[in-house]
Structure formats: structure tokens, C-alpha cells
């Protein structure tokens, strides 16, 4: 509506270096995408909190938590994938800059993936047994390159040091999330958050009666169940490298 103040160039304030197309294609992808990047989150924010908040914008299809490469723990960002573009836009307009878990989060369009392009679907788009809201077969989500794509995306995001503050400019400076690349080296986040989050973490563990949530088990469990039967080589989310504990241990040994 308010075209007077909408700076159209803003949509592409950052350029994802992993995006292979031209700038125009990139902007086009942003304009059509139903994926948003959510940044500056607390490391302890759960998917369910994200779900609750983003449901205010619309029906959510998926949430992909950004995990630290080494520790495999959430590291302050995630992707939320909606069903509809309108809802996606609303989440950027209305949720960016608001507080989730005591932190002002930022929400940006993400180029995500283009529906249909990777999946080579038939043109009719009418699978009989499909997911309810869309006509895609859920298995296709699992089989297709989506997981890989997200993985690449996560890798790329980690390298984007400067995500800018954008719409948050009017608010007190936001503490940038600690760089994830080094997340494994100093435990959970930086020392500045240790005090506040320490108790909280313990409480949450108590809640779940689980000894090391959200540390390693988070990753291991979901990995176990997420390998699709008919496509055994790769797991759909997060874990392209270091696909098993053994590999990872080996990796660590080699480095030390």
C-alpha cells in the first residue's frame, strides 16, 4: 500500500553469495519466496516458541533451526517457511523488530527455494495423495534437493557477517549473535549471556527430563529418524557434512 516509503531496493539489502543466478533473479526469488530468515534469536529459543509467534502471521509449513556446525546446537537463527506469500510478507512487516525471548529478532525474506523448480513436478500439479494445504506430496519434500538446499543455505548464512540492522535501526543497537563458526569453542554463546541463560537452560532440561538438551541429543535423535527409506544417502536437514558421530569424531581427531 504505502509505496511512498517502501524502498524497493531494500528487499535485497544483502546478497546471498551462494545464490547462483543474477541479481535480478535473486531479487525475483526474494519477491516470490515463502521463506523468511529469522535472526538475532536467543540460542535457547525453541521451535515451538517460533511456531507460536510466527503463527500470528499465518500457517507455518516448516521451521528449520540454524545449528552450529560444530556443536550442533541452535545458534541464533532459523528459517520459517509459510504456505502463502501474503503470510510471509506479513511476518516480515509485523514480526521483524519485535521481541522473542527477550531479544529483538529480525525477519527478512530469504530466497529459499523456488517451488517446483527443483522437484521437476508434472505440470498438472495435482497429486492425489498430497499434503493437505498444498498439492505436493510430502515424500517429495524429503526426496528432493530441499534438504541439501537448506544445508547450503545455512552454510552461506553463517558467512554473512553483516546482515545489517535494517528496520531495527530505530531501536537500541542489537547485540549481534556470536559468530556461529566459533560457537563450538566457547560453549553456549558468549560469556555475556552465560549468567542469564544458565538457570534457564537448567530449567528447561528439567522440563524435558533430558540430560543434555539442547546439546547433542537434539541433533542425534532427529538424524536417526530423518533418513528417508528410499533415499538413504542424505538426511534432509542441517547435516550434510559430519553425517554421523563417527565421522565427526574422526574429523576432530584429525584436527587435533
Amino acid at each position: 500500500m504505502a509505496s511512498l516509503f517502501k524502498d524497493l531496493a531494500k528487499i535485497s539489502a544483502y546478497r546471498d553469495r551462494r545464490f547462483s543466478g543474477t541479481q535480478e533473479e535473486f531479487e525475483d526469488a526474494l519477491l516470490k519466496s515463502t521463506t523468511v530468515y529469522v535472526g538475532n534469536m536467543s540460542f535457547y529459543t525453541t521451535e515451538e516458541q517460533v511456531y507460536e509467534l510466527f503463527s500470528h502471521a499465518g500457517e507455518i509449513k516448516k521451521i528449520v533451526m540454524g545449528l552450529d556446525k560444530n556443536s550442533k546446537t541452535p545458534c541464533g537463527f532459523c528459517f520459517v517457511i509459510f504456505y502463502s506469500r501474503d503470510d510471509t510478507e506479513d511476518s516480515v512487516k509485523y514480526i521483524s523488530g519485535t521481541i522473542l525471548d527477550d531479544r529483538p529478532i529480525r525477519v527478512d525474506f530469504d530466497w529459499g527455494f523456488q517451488e517446483g523448480r527443483q522437484w521437476g513436478r508434472g505440470r498438472s500439479g495435482g497429486q492425489v495423495r498430497g499434503e493437505y494445504r498444498t498439492d505436493y506430496d510430502p515424500d517429495i519434500l524429503l526426496l528432493g534437493g530441499y534438504g541439501k538446499l537448506v544445508q547450503k543455505e545455512l552454510e552461506a548464512q553463517r558467512q554473512l557477517v553483516d546482515y545489517g540492522t535494517g528496520s531495527l535501526g530505530a531501536y537500541p543497537p542489537v547485540m549481534p549473535p556470536p559468530p556461529c563458526k566459533r560457537g563450538g569453542n566457547h560453549g553456549h554463546g558468549g560469556s555475556y549471556r552465560q549468567g542469564r541463560d544458565y538457570h534457564r537452560k537448567r530449567h528447561r532440561e528439567d522440563d524435558h527430563h533430558r540430560s543434555d538438551y539442547p546439546k547433542r541429543s537434539y541433533d542425534r535423535e532427529s538424524r536417526r529418524i530423518s533418513n528417508h527409506e528410499s533415499r538413504p544417502e542424505k538426511n534432509p536437514r542441517f547435516r550434510e557434512s559430519g553425517d554421523s558421530d563417527e565421522e565427526e569424531d574422526d574429523d576432530r581427531k584429525r584436527r587435533t
Binding site: M1, A2, S3, L4, F5, K6, T46, E47, E48, Q49, Y51, E52, H56, A57, G58, E59, K62, I63, V64, M65, Y83, S84, D90, K93, Y94, I95, G97, T98, I99, L100, D101, R123, S124, G125, G126, R129, E131, Y132, R133, T134, P138, D139, L142, A170, R200, H203, R204, D207, H209, Y213, Y218, E221, S222, R224, I225, N227, E229, S230, P232, R237
Partner: protein, 864 residues
């Protein structure tokens, strides 16, 4: 942005563009001289931008109007073009029914009239055109009265112009404007008063028929305008910068305005009966909705002392800023707080925003937009606004029992989200008294649901901490989360089942395929243990594996959902499946809702099974004490509806693509044909057809275009088939939903409200009801003098609006409230299927209150 642009954009603001000078006269002069210089070489850029500013920042229209008046002295041709464009835009907006554009362009033309840019009589011609169209519409013989919403809207537009130009019109064309006023009055006398029934935020629970005596929106505006007229058209809220330039402006040449025409009537004239009338009226009200329904929640000694018309104008300003600056946080906030009026308006602003948040059937934007606006205003006006917001919350809380059910839900979502942005700080001790109320008391349920939503946005311990100074409220916190896995403990569970569960978990760990798991179930579990145990083991175990997060859940469902699908093939079995899910997640309303929602996504559960489960006996008891079953029901219906609306959108976009593809194909064909029919000379001989290389190329273009056309058509057909199925599906869903309500309500309604009105039947002690708390009858005493609207009954012994309703009565009211909310939200789909509903649900013996809830939601007159 070039400097003339930013001067235009920022006109009227205290900003660096004008070196901080906020004087309107100085600003207009500065802007005028900058724009005048540019007229020569960028005139064609200026007028669209100027129009855009006026259309999107309508609170500044008088400034833009004066500016145009000054430009008119300099360059008549430029202004003539601008006026022509404004007229074309208005005509277009009338034809396409763009309400906001019509309203604002008319205001702009009014202001241009004040600056001598257009003839006052030309404006009157537009008014008369709208007036006559409106009068025709509501005429019972020649018109189409079901479209009164449009007629009312046109009259609203005329009246809305008067604060901006009433004084000038009366001065310059007194007779004409008098004629218009008489016309409006005549219109008001022939139209029907619009009832708020179904759309009012506060339920007129006593049926005192106040509504009949109350003015509707248009009558209210009319009285405000009359008041304005009695004050010689003087008001505080509209700046009149043209007066500072009057001496110059009179020299300007007033342009004439081409007349506009209102669109034809949307159907054959005459009075329709019953259903057809209702459908058309519904359609008209969707297209021409009422912008605001005033809440009047603040006591009059608190709100600003503002003239009636100023209140209307400020509301217009605020609604327009909310509309046009949606998505521009900074600008939206600064325009909201910086309106060009000489009085304070925080209360009015809060009330206007809350009226939008709670607007029925739908606010113009998602409720979460208003959450953001309120947050930003609290930050922008930290000394004033938070207290006003808190006042609004208290006022709404006091009247919560009267609040429409849908509004209660919106209020809960807003309030919890709002608090989550302000460290969850709230003086909870004020509300500690709800603990003395029975568990179904609306205030108590409200507090409990706010805490539930807070926990979802944060975490249990944090919220517990936030109510530290009222520890008693802990009782209302949801359980501390965590799944209830049947097989986690050695004792108490059946060892056989536990062994099966362990075996199943091992299969998952061993990455067995769904197919392998299905054969295991079919060979080893089902034959030996039967359906119930098989279901319990499989569902509990798989949910437990997927219990860690939303992603874990969808991963396990994507991988092993087929195992569940194989076990639960019909609705009966799926109802049991849902029960198992809700038992596993009994401590987490959120996870219960998410799990059921996801299972519906993967078609493991049908929407019909969800309806049946929600209306099953285990849930009925919760209807008035928890939002949880309703949340699940809302999700199921909205998912079904979203699918239809997605498909409709896709189809309309595909239809456009088909047209484009057809054009492209026929163009390519034409090119090929013309190339083939051309004679060319080859080897001295005349041959039919052009150069073969080109022919070949054109042929392939034509083929490709044709293929494309066929393919788009196929997609369209496929989508249309899907839509037809989805439409059938929602028809069945609606019917089953209403039958669910009917069955659930029939007996309790007859017990609690025997005479068919909201007067409870008999004395509570005579009734066979389960009084959870025997102190309920004594509540009158410990109300602590809280402000409370109470209605006493002839027998003097009961109140409907207090908390001495018994459980069954409150149960009925809550359930009826949800029934009305569903009906209103899906009214369009329901109108499509109304005959079926009339035949199968709204039968003779349906309880009057049940009928009333549905009729209200549809805004269908009860006496039809």
C-alpha cells in the same frame, strides 16, 4: 530522492527538509517555489507524485490542495491535467469499488475547491450523482435494497467531505449544498437502519433492543455533521492553510470537472426474498464494509473533550495512517502521534486502534499488525500511551463477559504478545480475585488463557516468575509441559505393550522403512493385540520419538505417517487416534494442537474426525473453561478454508495466464500464416511461402506457443477439479460442524434457557446442574465493588452478566459465542450452503438461541 520530491513528501512535517520549520505557510511557500522551478522539465513526474502523496497521506490533503492552488496561478495547464487525472481516478475507483480511493479523492477534490482550483458547483454535481445512485439503490421498486451498504457508503463519502469544505460550499453555493443536505436527509428517511447484530464487539446480552433505538453509523455521522453545521462549519481538526493564501488564490482560474457516473446496479431491481436477499446483502457488506465500530470503553471523564465532528476526523486520520502506512513502521508511528490537530488524542487513538483489533467480522489487517502499532506507540510516547493501553485492557477486562467470543480470542493473543514485548510486566495482583470465581468465569478463563499464551511465547519458569507477586495465580498456569509417554516407566504400564514399544523404537533406530514397519504391525501386533493396543503403542511411540521439536514431529510423520494411516482408515479410528495424541500431549495444549494440525496436513486425520473428536464427550466439559478444543477446531476449519482460498487465487492467476497464452499462440499462428501465404521468388519462379529458414523458425514458435497454451489450460483444469473437490469437502465439513453444535447444545440449552431467551430458567438450586463451586451463589458479596454492568431481572434474584451464572449457563453462552464466531468467519461459505443448513440443522425444533447465534453470525434477519 530529488529535493522537490522530498519537500512534497515531507510537507507539513517538522523535518530537516524544511530546516525544522513547522509553520505550514512557510512550508507551503518553500515547497511551492521548489516545485514551480521543476514544472518546466519534470512536470510529468510531478503530478503523479503529488496525487500519490495526497492519496496516501490524506491527513495532509489541505496542504497539498493549497499547493496545487498556488501552482494553478503559475501553470493552469499543469493543474488542469492534475484535475483531469484525479477525476479519471475517481471514476475508475467508483467502477471498481475501491472504497478508500473514492473517499480520499473526494476529499482531495473538496480541498481543491477550497483553493479555487475547481468550481464548487462541479463538486456538488459529484455529490448529487452519488446521492441519486444511493436513493435509487434503496428504492424498493426501482432499486436493489440488498445493496444498501454501497448506498450508505456513498452518502458517508459525501458527508465526510464537509469537514474539509463545508464552510466554503455554504458560502459559495448555499442553495446547491442545501439541496444536497435535503437529499441526504431524504435518503436517511427511506433507507433501513443498519443493525449491528452479529458485528458488535459487546453482546447485547439482555436483548434490551437498545440497538433499535441507537443510531447506526451513518445516522451518527449525519448528527455530527449537523452539529458541525450549527457551529458554522468551524472545527479544530482540519487545518485550513488556504486561508493564508486567500488573496492570491482568488486570482486562480477554477477548472471544470467532468461529471462522474456511478456503476450500474449489480443485479435486477426489486425486492428479493429471504435467502437471495441475505446473500446479496452479505456480498455488498463485504465490498463496502463499515470502517469502524466505536468501542466507547473509556469513561467520558477520561477521554479528550473533543467536538463530535473532530472525533470523526481524527478517527479518519488514524484509520488512514494505519491503512496507508502499513508496513512502514517508523512513518506509521510518527504520523499516528503527529496528526495536525491542536488537541491531545491518546485515548481516542487507543480506542481507534482497539476498535480495529477487535473489528468484526475482520480487521483490515492481521491482528498482529495492531500489536506492532501499539508496541511502537508505547515506545514513541512512553509517558502517555502505556497507561492508556493499560486502561483499555482494564476496561475490556471488566466487560469481558459481554465481549464477543472472537474478540476475546483476539484480545488474549494480542495481550500475551504485547506483554512478551515488555518483559511480561503487568500488575497481576489486580486480577488475583479471579481465583475466587468459578473456573468458567470469563475473567478467570481470560487470565488463564493469557498465561497459557505467554508460556508458549516464552517458557514456564519465566512466566511463573512474572506473576511472582501474585503467587496464587500460579494455579492458572498451564501444566509444566512435557509429554506423557505411557511406556516411560517400568511400573503401571502393561509389560507387553512396553515391550512392543521398545521393539518399535528399535525399528526406528534401525532405520527400518515404513513398509517394514507396516508389515511388522500387520503380522505381529494387530492380530495378537487388536486395534486399541496397536494404535496406542504405535502412536505413543512415534509421538515420543517426534516429541523433541516441531521438526522432529514432522520428520517422524513424514517418514512413518503411513504406518498410522494404515491403522486408522476411517473417522472412528481417527477419532481414537486424536484421543491418543491428546493424551500424550495432555500437558501441552500447543503440542496437542500442532500434532493434530500436522496429522491433518499429512491426511492422517480428516477434518471430519477432528470435528467429531472436538464434540466428543471428553471435550464437551471443557468448552467453557478452555480455548484448547476451540483452537483445534479453528485450525481444522481454517486449514480446509485456506485450501479453497489458495486454489481460488491460483485459478484466477491461471485464468489470466490462459488469456495471455492464447494471445501469444494466436499471434505466433498469424505470423506463420502470413509468412506462408506470401509469394516469394525462388530461382526465378514464384513460390508460395517466404524464406524456408524463417518459416521453419516461425513454425516452431507457433508450436511452442500452442503447447504452452495447452499446458496452461491443463493446469487450470487440474486446479478447477481440485477446487470442485475442496468445495464439496467444505460443504460436508460445515454440515458436520453445525450438527456437532446442534447436538451438543440441544439439551443444555433446553435445561438452562427453557423459555428460549437468555433469561435462565428457574432457580439454580432447582436445576440439576453440577455446581463445581458451591460458593458461586455468594459471589455477589465479594465482588469488591468492581465496576460491573449488571442487569437485574424482574425476579430480582439473578444476573445474567455477573458471575452468578451457573456452569451450565456459562457453558451455553460460551458455546453459542463460538458458534456465532465460526458462522461469522465463514459466512461466505455458509451462505453458499444455506439451503442445506436450513433443511438439516435449522429445523423447527432448533432452540431459539441456537438459531439466533447462527442468524447473528450471518447477519440474517430473524424475522424473515
Amino acid at each position: 530522492m530529488s529535493s522537490w520530491k522530498s519537500l512534497l513528501l515531507r510537507l507539513g512535517e517538522k523535518c530537516p527538509e524544511y530546516a525544522g520549520n513547522a509553520d505550514f505557510k512557510d512550508q507551503i511557500e518553500a515547497c511551492y517555489s521548489a516545485v514551480r522551478r521543476e514544472l518546466e522539465h519534470s512536470g510529468d513526474d510531478i503530478f503523479p507524485f503529488l496525487l500519490q502523496c495526497a492519496e496516501q497521506l490524506p491527513h495532509k490533503i489541505p496542504l497539498y490542495g493549497t499547493l496545487v492552488g498556488l501552482l494553478n496561478l503559475e501553470n493552469e495547464e499543469f493543474v488542469a491535467k492534475l484535475v483531469e487525472n484525479a477525476q479519471i481516478n475517481l471514476q475508475d475507483a467508483l467502477e471498481t469499488g475501491k472504497c478508500n480511493k473514492i473517499r480520499i479523492l473526494m476529499r482531495f477534490l473538496t480541498v481543491l475547491m477550497c483553493s479555487k482550483v475547481i468550481q464548487p458547483s462541479a463538486l456538488v454535481v459529484i455529490f448529487e450523482c452519488l446521492l441519486s445512485s444511493s436513493a435509487t439503490t434503496v428504492d424498493e421498486e426501482k432499486g436493489i435494497p440488498s445493496w444498501q451498504a454501497r448506498a450508505d457508503f456513498y452518502i458517508t463519502c459525501i458527508l465526510s467531505c464537509l469537514p474539509w469544505g463545508g464552510a466554503e460550499l455554504v458560502e459559495q453555493v448555499p442553495e446547491e449544498i442545501e439541496r444536497v443536505m435535503v437529499g441526504v436527509e431524504a435518503y436517511l428517511s427511506i433507507r433501513k437502519r443498519v443493525s449491528d447484530a452479529g458485528f458488535s464487539v459487546f453482546e447485547d446480552i439482555e436483548e434490551t433492543n437498545n440497538a433499535v433505538n441507537e443510531k447506526d453509523f451513518l445516522e451518527d455521522l449525519w448528527s455530527r455533521v449537523q452539529d458541525l453545521s450549527s457551529r458554522e462549519w468551524k472545527l479544530d481538526s482540519v487545518p485550513r492553510p488556504h486561508l493564508s493564501f486567500e488573496a492570491q488564490l482568488v486570482a486562480g482560474k477554477s477548472h471544470d470537472l467532468a461529471p462522474v457516473s456511478c456503476p450500474e446496479q449489480p443485479g435486477p431491481s426489486g425486492v428479493l426474498s429471504g435467502i437471495a436477499f441475505g446473500r446479496q446483502k452479505h456480498e455488498a457488506e463485504l465490498k463496502y464494509p463499515q470502517r469502524i465500530r466505536r468501542l466507547n470503553i473509556f469513561p467520558s471523564n477520561k477521554t479528550e473533550d473533543i467536538q463530535p465532528i473532530d472525533r470523526f476526523v481524527v478517527e479518519e486520520y488514524l484509520l488512514d495512517v494505519l491503512l496507508f502506512l502499513n508496513g512502514c513502521r517508523k512513518e506509521c508511528t510518527s504520523y499516528m502521534v503527529g496528526l495536525p490537530v491542536p488537541f491531545r488524542y491518546e485515548y481516542l487513538m487507543a480506542e481507534t486502534i482497539f476498535s480495529q483489533l477487535l473489528l468484526l467480522p475482520q480487521p483490515p489487517f492481521k491482528p498482529t499488525y495492531y500489536t506492532l502499532v501499539i508496541i511502537d506507540l508505547c515506545k514513541a510516547l512512553p509517558g502517555a500511551f502505556p497507561a492508556v493501553v493499560a486502561g483499555a485492557v482494564r476496561a475490556l477486562f471488566d466487560k469481558i463477559a459481554d465481549l464477543d467470543m472472537e474478540c476475546r480470542t483476539r484480545l488474549i493473543l494480542w495481550f500475551s504478545h504485547h506483554l512478551s514485548n515488555f518483559q511480561f510486566i503487568w500488575p497481576w495482583e489486580e486480577w488475583a480475585h479471579v481465583l475466587d470465581l468459578p473456573k468458567w468465569a470469563p475473567q478467570r478463563v481470560f487470565v488463564q488463557e493469557v498465561l497459557e499464551r505467554e508460556v508458549r511465547l516464552s517458557y514456564w519458569d519465566k512466566i511463573k516468575q512474572s506473576i511472582e507477586n501474585t503467587p496464587a495465580l500460579e494455579e492458572l498456569l498451564p501444566p509444566r509441559g512435557g509429554p506423557q509417554f505411557k511406556y516411560s516407566e517400568e511400573d503401571g504400564t502393561d509389560p507387553t505393550e512396553r515391550a512392543l514399544s521398545v521393539e518399535l523404537k528399535d525399528m526406528v533406530k534401525g532405520r527400518k522403512s515404513a513398509r517394514e514397519m507396516i508389515s511388522w504391525v500387520e503380522e505381529n501386533v494387530f492380530p495378537a493385540h487388536g486395534f486399541d493396543i496397536t494404535l496406542r503403542v504405535v502412536v505413543q511411540t512415534l509421538l515420543d520419538i517426534g516429541s523433541k521439536s516441531f521438526t522432529h514431529l514432522i520428520t517422524v510423520l513424514e517418514r512413518y505417517g503411513q504406518v498410522i494411516a494404515k491403522i486408522c482408515t476411517d473417522d472412528d479410528q481417527q477419532v481414537k487416534l486424536i484421543s491418543e495424541v491428546s493424551s500424550y500431549w495432555q500437558n501441552s495444549a500447543q503440542m496437542t494442537a500442532i500434532s493434530i494440525d500436522r496429522m491433518m496436513s499429512y491426511r492422517l486425520i480428516s477434518n471430519l474426525a477432528i470435528v467429531r473428536w472436538v464434540f466428543s464427550s471428553s471435550n464437551l466439559d471443557r468448552f467453557h473453561v478452555s480455548d484448547s478444543p476451540w483452537e483445534i477446531l479453528r485450525n481444522a476449519v481454517s486449514k480446509t478454508y485456506n485450501r479453497i482460498s489458495d486454489l481460488r487465487k491460483e485459478i484466477s492467476s491461471l485464468e489470466r495466464s490462459v488469456v495471455l497464452a492464447e494471445e501469444a499462440a494466436s499471434r505466433a499462428r498469424d505470423q506463420l500464416d502470413s509468412a506462408e501465404s506470401k509469394l516469394s521468388i525462388m530461382d526465378g519462379e514464384p513460390v508460395l511461402g517466404e524464406n524456408p529458414v524463417r518459416i521453419k523458425r516461425l513454425k516452431s514458435y507457433a508450436e511452442k506457443a500452442k503447447e504452452e497454451e495447452v499446458s496452461v489450460r491443463e493446469s487450470l483444469e487440474a486446479k478447477e477439479a481440485l477446487l470442485a473437490r475442496a468445495v464439496d469437502e467444505i460443504k460436508v465439513l460445515i454440515l458436520s460442524l453445525y450438527k456437532g453444535f446442534l447436538t451438543a447444545l440441544a439439551e443444555p440449552l433446553n435445561d438452562a434457557f427453557r423459555d428460549g431467551t437468555l433469561r435462565p430458567s428457574g432457580q439454580a438450586d432447582e436445576m440439576n446442574i453440577d455446581l463445581e463451586d458451591s460458593s458461586v451463589m455468594d459471589l455477589d458479596k465479594d465482588d469488591g465493588g468492581r465496576p460491573k454492568k449488571s442487569y437485574s431481572h424482574p425476579n430480582g434474584s439473578r444476573e445474567i452478566n455477573g458471575y452468578n451464572l451457573d456452569g451450565k449457563q456459562q457453558w451455553c453462552l460460551s458455546t453459542l459465542g463460538y458458534l456465532k464466531a465460526f458462522t461469522r468467519q465463514y459466512a461466505s461459505e455458509i451462505w453458499q450452503n444455506i439451503e442445506k443448513l436450513d433443511a438439516e440443522v435449522l429445523t423447527e425444533d432448533a432452540h431459539p438461541l441456537f438459531r439466533k447465534a447462527i442468524y447473528c453470525g450471518l447477519r440474517r434477519p430473524l424475522d424473515e
